[in-house]
Structures are given as C-alpha cells and as structure tokens.
C-alpha cells in the first residue's frame, strides 16, 4: 500500500519529465559517493560506448544511498557502497549476481581484495577502492606523539575538531575510544558511545561530510576525523597537514561496485564496471581521489613514497583494524535511534 501510493505519486510526477531523457541511448545511472571519481573518466566511457549515456549522481553516506534506492522509483545500474552496506544489500536480495565473463578486467584486481567477508564468494561486487579511518591534523597546531581515538574527546581540544556526520563512523570511533568494538551490538555500549558523542560537542568546531576537506585545506581546524583518501587529497593541497591512523585500531573499509537487482541495463553496467577496472582508468581515479587501489597494476606503478605512506599501511595496522559488519535489522534500527537521539542532543 505504502509503495503503491508512493509509486503512483512518482509516476505522475515523472511522466511529466520523462519525455526529454530518451534519445535512443541507454541511460546508465551510476550512484557513487561524492568526490569519489575522476569525472573525466565518465566522458571517456561515453566516448568509448557512444550508445550509452551516464547519469551520474552522488551521495554523502551509505545510509542515504540505501534510503534512496529502497524508496525511490529511480532504478540505478551501478552503485559503489561500502562493505557492510553491500552485505546488507546482498542479504536483502537487492543485488544482481555479476556475470564475470563480461568483466574480464576483474582478473587485474589483486586477489587479496576478493572474497572478503561481506561477499564471501565474490558473486556480487568488484572492488573499487579501500582505505582507513583516521585523524587528519595540522602539524603546526597538534603536537602528539601517539594518536588514539581518545584525542577526539580530550578536553584540551576545545572547538578544534571537524567531526564526521556519518552514523557508523561517529558512533564507531566513540565506541572504539571506550574500548568497545566498531561493530558493537550492545545497547549499553551504544548508549555510552552516544553520551560520549554528545559530550564531545564542546570539542567540535563543525559537524561535516565532504565539506570538511575544504575546511582542512583552508586551515580552519586543527584536526578532523577523515578517510585516508580524502586526507591524502587534503595533504596534497596543504603541506601543513598530516594523517595518523590511531594506534588503538582503525576501521578498514572497502568500497565495491555492485549492480542492483532491479537494474534494467545490466550489460551496460557490467561494461562500466569492466571499464573502471582498466589500468589507465583505475589509475586516473586513484590519482585523482587519493584512495588506496585494489588494482595490482596500478599499485605496482605507484611511486615508492605513496606505497610507503599511510594509504598502504603496514600489516600490523591492518590486522588491528576492524571492518564494519552489517549488524542486522534490529541492531541497525537501534543504531539509527541512538544516532538521531544524539543529533537531538545538540
């Protein structure tokens, strides 16, 4: 009933506009994180496949993407969500198994990024980028020997932190700073993490998403909770910045390309995924956005200083890091409730 009413409403609205988008070309809808691609790559794809037009849209976190694909009548063809979200989508039968015959470049991806826990038989996803969560800081303002998550809650950093407005990341680092897991399923632990986030308000200069990058580059804040790739980009723009992966253990994430089960252009979508795995294209993306590549050839061609940087951390850091898991419907709605209570506490 819900769906039907909504659908009717949307169909009515859409029928007004749909006339202009059909020019005989296949329209491939790609839905990706913001600031997460070299956009010239899309143009190149369209040049290579003249009968496909890419409609590119972006989101700021996995949850927004999930809400959009489950509630909107728009049918996307390629998504690039993170590990735990892919696990959720697989569990809810929302992804189409990939035909790897159409994605020969999959063989160029390093085997250690295949068959990960969120897609154990690697039937649904092709790795795009990976990275870690850490603290981007201004070397002229922050002088610490050891970086831990505790820093973000330390009273001496009043009005200093750009805090991510992402549910799993914010609650995750708060949980971790209390000595709990990034994947805690305990109501008591979560509430403690929430209270800690509320108390952190005095330390926070602003709650941000991608806009945190510009602020750090402009030298607005001493430190920010940030993904390694975004941090690499900021550092390339401002020499005073540096990135630290907290010693008490970070979050390791993988963002992979998937095709929703309701995609109407699966062939074109697989062409797109295959194209993104071409060495030159993967290289362009990796260079532009600064995230760590799962592509063997691209990795090997990297200059030594990048290979040795935080973008490709040493094994012990990776082993200590946790990957987000999908925690099931019940726990996820507990997270959502705790998160909106936190927002209301501001």
């Amino acid at each position: 009933m819900k769906k039907i009413a909504l659908l009717l409403c949307l169909v009515l609205c859409f029928s007004v506009f749909s006339g202009c988008s059909n020019s005989g070309k296949t329209v491939l809808r790609v839905y990706n994180w913001g600031e997460y691609i070299d956009e010239s790559v899309i143009k190149e794809f369209e040049k290579r496949f003249p009968d496909i037009r890419v409609q590119y849209e972006t989101y700021t976190d996995n949850e927004i993407m999930y809400t959009k694909i489950t509630n909107s009548s728009t049918k996307y063809d390629v998504l690039i969500p993170s590990d735990y979200m892919i696990e959720r989508l697989i569990g809810e039968n929302m992804l189409a198994p990939l035909n790897f015959d159409n994605i020969p470049n999959y063989s160029l991806i390093d085997n250690k990024y295949k068959n990960l826990d969120f897609d154990p038989e690697n039937k649904y996803s092709v790795p795009y980028m990976w990275g870690t969560l850490g603290i981007l800081y201004d070397k002229t303002k922050v002088h610490e020997e050891h970086f831990t998550w505790e820093m973000l809650f330390d009273g001496k950093y009043a009005n200093s932190i750009l805090m991510k407005k992402d549910m799993r990341d914010a609650l995750g680092v708060s949980l971790k700073s209390l000595g709990y897991s990034f994947n805690s399923v305990d109501a008591g632990e979560l509430n403690a993490a929430k209270d800690r986030l509320s108390a952190q308000k005095n330390n926070v200069l602003a709650y941000v998403n991608d806009d945190g990058m510009d602020k750090m580059i402009a030298g607005e804040a001493p430190m920010a909770l940030m993904y390694s790739g975004d941090a690499a980009y900021c550092i390339s723009e401002n020499d005073n910045l540096a990135f630290a992966i907290p010693e008490d253990g970070s979050n390791l994430f993988f963002d992979s390309m998937v095709i929703p089960a309701n995609s109407e252009h699966k062939d074109a979508a697989e062409k797109f995924i295959n194209f993104m795995c071409e060495k030159e294209i993967a290289e362009k993306n990796a260079n532009e956005i600064g995230y760590s590549t799962p592509h063997t050839g691209v990795y090997e061609a990297l200059p030594a200083e990048v290979k040795n940087s935080f973008a490709y951390p040493e094994t012990d850091i990776l082993e200590k890091a946790e990957i987000y898991k999908y925690l099931g419907e019940e726990i996820t709605s507990m997270y959502e409730r705790v998160w909106s209570e936190f927002q209301a506490s501001l």
């Binding site: 409403c9 009515l12 809400t67 549910m167 602003a206």
Partner: protein, 275 residues
C-alpha cells in the same frame, strides 16, 4: 454569467492540479506515514517517540529561534517598508533592487557564501586581524543561525508590509493631520493598524520557513545547533524512518497552524482600535 464560470474553471484547472499533486497528496501521504507503523497498521507510536525531552527541546528551540528571527525581521523590516512607501527617499528603485537582487541567487548559495565570510579564516576575521583585533567565532552558535534566518527571510517581511502601507490612501493621513494628529499619533492610529494585513503575511512568511529550516542550521550553525527541520530531514534521508519523520512534520504543521491562528485572532482584536 455561465461563460464566466466556465472560463474561471478552465483558468483554475492547472492551479488545481498543482495544488492537488504538490500539496494535498503529499499531506495525505504524510498523514498516512505518520499514523501507521512499519507494517502499515494504524499506530500512534511515531508520535509517542517524539515526546521525550531531547526532541521537545529541539522543537522548543526551533520555535524560539524562528520567533526571534521574526521579531528582528519585523523591527528591521518595518522602517524599510515605510521608507519604500514614503516620498522622502529619492533612491527607492535602487533600494528595491538591492533588496531583491540577492533573491535572484540560489538560497543555498547565498547561505553558503556567508560561510566564506564568517569562517575562522574568513573575510571578516581577516579584516579584524589586519586591524589588530582578535578573531571571532561567528559560526556554530545560535546567533549565526538567527542571523541566517533574518538575512534570508527579511525581504519576505518587507514587501508585504510595503504593499499594505502604499495602499493606505494619502487623504486619510492628511485628514488625520488636519485634525491635529502629530506624526506619532498618525503612525499608531492610522498607518500601523492599516498595515496589519501586511505584517501578518510578513510574519507568516518569515516564521514558517524559520521553524522548518535545516539548511541554515547545518551551514551557519556548523551542525551544532539542531533544529526540528534537521531531525525531520534525518529521518527521511538518512534513517529511512519515514513514519517518525512524518509524525514530526505533522506536529510541526499543527504547531505552525496554531501559531498563525493565534496571530490572526490577535489581529482581529486589534482592528477594534481603528476608528
């Protein structure tokens, strides 16, 4: 006569479709989502969830800040409207252009521009520093949010008041003065009461978007001042909890309608003052 009715019906038709599609249907959908649970069964759980201290505090803050912004807009806007309507000021066209020009720009962009001006290393702070004054934290507090509301909504206060003041026949004012009324009496007994309809639309057009805004609090409040609009946006966009989001929307709508009803009642009484 009949022909006129038909013409009117034809002319009204697009508007009617518009209203039904974009106002009536969404309101019905919101009521439906708000009053049902995840399984589509009637339930008041969504409303119950709202009545806890955190959410009520945010709602109270939204009403208070919107009220504050409305009062400031009225105090600042009324004199400007009078200047626009009067004859003494020679560069009225310029003033109107200055007031309207920012509205040609996108609302988001306009608000975003203030970020650059007010940031820690922004334009204002750079000026302060070059004068040897200490930096100020302009953003991330209640003042910034109220400022954002006043800045964005002020024209919506000025123009309705301007319209109703300029509609006051000049001879009424002349008559008042002939009868010995000074400027002050003239203002309080003639101009102010006759401009009440303009004030009312102005107040509505500032207060309602003020209560429901979420962009201003996110940009200028640095996300540190949560308003009720932020909670609603989060429930729809992020949590996927449309039921709760819809319930809050309904509560806000009821509150806004109540406020407007109160204002209107007050204004009906005030007409008694008029001779």
């Amino acid at each position: 006569m009949k022909k006129n009715n038909l013409l009117r019906a034809v002319a009204l038709f697009p508007f009617l479709i518009w209203i039904i599609l974009l106002i009536v249907v969404p309101v019905i959908l919101i009521a439906y989502y708000g009053l049902t649970n995840a399984d589509g069964v009637f339930s008041l759980d969504n409303f119950r969830q709202f009545f806890q201290p955190n959410y009520l505090r945010v709602f109270g803050r939204s009403l208070y800040l919107a009220l504050l912004a409305t009062v400031i807009c009225l105090l600042v806007g009324y004199p400007i409207a009078m200047i626009l309507a009067g004859n003494t000021f020679k560069r009225k066209t310029l003033l109107v252009v200055l007031l309207i020009a920012p509205m040609w720009m996108n609302f988001l962009l306009r608000t975003y521009a203030w970020l650059t001006l007010l940031e820690g290393n922004g334009v204002f702070n750079t000026i302060l520093q070059s004068l040897g004054l200490p930096k100020q934290a302009f953003l991330g507090n209640v003042n910034a949010v109220v400022f954002g509301m006043v800045y964005n909504f002020l024209p919506y206060m000025i123009f309705p008041i301007y319209t109703s003041i300029s509609k006051i026949p000049k001879n009424i004012i002349e008559a008042a003065k002939d009868l010995g009324g000074g400027n002050v009496i003239c203002f309080f007994r003639i101009i102010l009461p006759l401009s009440v309809p303009g004030i009312l639309s102005g107040v509505t057009m500032v207060f309602v978007p003020g209560v429901t805004t979420f962009v201003i609090s996110q940009f200028l409040g640095s996300g540190k001042i949560t308003l009720i609009g932020d909670i609603i946006e989060q429930q729809f966009m992020h949590a996927g909890n449309w039921g709760f989001g819809a319930a809050i929307s309904i509560i806000v709508m009821i509150a806004v309608v109540l406020c407007m009803w109160l204002v209107n009642r007050f204004s009906d009484d005030s007409e008694v003052i008029m001779p």
